[in-house]
Symmetry: C2
Subunit: 95 residues, 2 copies
Amino acid sequence: MSPQQTIWKALADPTRRGIIRALKGGSKTAGELADEFPMTRASLSHHFNALKAAELVRTERRGQHIVYSLNTSVLDDVAAILMDLFARNGKDDKE
Amino acid sequence: MSPQQTIWKALADPTRRGIIRALKGGSKTAGELADEFPMTRASLSHHFNALKAAELVRTERRGQHIVYSLNTSVLDDVAAILMDLFARNGKDDKE
DNA sequence: CATTCATTTAGATATTTGTCTAAATATCTG
DNA sequence: CAGATATTTAGACAAATATCTAAATGAATG
């Protein structure tokens, strides 16, 4: 799957957009995120994988915990993709 | 499904993003679009429906043809949704 | 080192999605 | 009106997705 499609698919799920929103205020551990979303940790882990595949989040192990944070450098790329798609007079880029 | 989720799902498919790109230059009939995408007209019609459900495109019958065009007023809403999701210091809107 | 806590992986299942073929609907033209 | 053209709808099917339970892995601590 193309990197761009991976990003779009990651964003298409409301839980994953919720995770992004939850991380906007700062990093959180998998457990902290799990407390905010009403599903099993296994299911959430699947969503984490989708976000990692899109490089929208980064992870870092801190002792017993795994800390998730937004990958801000990729957010700029995403913004560019969106601008390309929606710009009224954008150039007709290949995907 | 929430209007916002309808939009995200519509955008998650590469064919549908291709249709949006194809319409950026101006309106096209269903047949003209069909010539650009390698699938049956029936399949394309399904994609048109997804885009219409998200109000990303409008249709207008012109004689024997149906003309598709971008719904530019909704594009602004989409931009706002994206800005909300990605803004570094955005407010924590409910979805 | 054995136990506990945190997280992920494996495997199963129901639902959704994208595509197709075939048939239906709508409009134009002779 | 009858036939031709344009588009959509209906129904079927394979592949992808989101979720779950159960088991496995990794790290900290007594």
